[in-house]
Subunit: 136 residues, 2 copies
Amino acid sequence: MLSQKTKYGLKALGYLASQYGQGPVLIAEIATRKKIPVKFLESILLLLKQNNILDSKKGKGGGYFLFDAPKQTSLAAVMRIIEGPIAMLPCVSLNFYKKCNDCNEKNCALKKVMAITRDVTLKILEKKTLEDLIDE
Amino acid sequence: MLSQKTKYGLKALGYLASQYGQGPVLIAEIATRKKIPVKFLESILLLLKQNNILDSKKGKGGGYFLFDAPKQTSLAAVMRIIEGPIAMLPCVSLNFYKKCNDCNEKNCALKKVMAITRDVTLKILEKKTLEDLIDE
DNA sequence: TAATACTCTACCAAACAAGTAGACTAATAT
DNA sequence: ATATTAGTCTACTTGTTTGGTAGAGTATTA
């Protein structure tokens, strides 16, 4: 299950995608539209900015906006930043790999199944972008 | 990511699948072979028994064994018992559905993506069984 | 009846999730 | 210049989950 944080992040990005090209959007506006606690949302947007998914402008007329066009950012990229690994086991994660110390990976049947699962999941999440998060 | 608990459970079931038809297997034996803390494993096996994945026999010569043939139990069934929902969001879960109170599900773009992801994941996990967990 | 082996209840420490509070800093309009 | 706006940063809180451990109880069978 995705954490609330990830869900909020994706929702917020969907909204920013719908406003793309129209200048900065206030945190407060996103929070209201997407029913997200303002201060919590702040930390999420900041994290996404630090990872070059978002950019921001301070002061009057400021706000947040997408760093790239909606189509340029995959959902997998966003999820890895907020949620962490997409695979179900560390030993099959492409971006957060950690070796199993308690099993022989060469002939681990569980690993094989989870690698297949990871493949089909990533095939979707790498292809879907922020554009696909625009509601309606 | 799957919890340690689920991983242990699947590992243990893989071992029991490999021993299927050969009578009860001691918790301690499973624990040693699969490098799982004994007392922690106890609670996992008990949970699986309470959900009719396993059966057990007490006293000397006792132990745990699969309730059904390995092929009869899907990985999805096991994961739902130990881990809970397989879907990434409650509002797209088939077995643990909870409605979103903060978004209109009819036109939620995020929901659509997560439903697709759930479909491909389940297509694998419903088809794979304990037999597929036998190592080597 | 003694030994075996599963069952059940209780407890625990550390990590994480989800959020709150408030001071600080940068940018802009007037 | 300066007031206002709006993002940035640090710190804290509260509750839940994770990953265990300890030990008494109960059923079975040799």
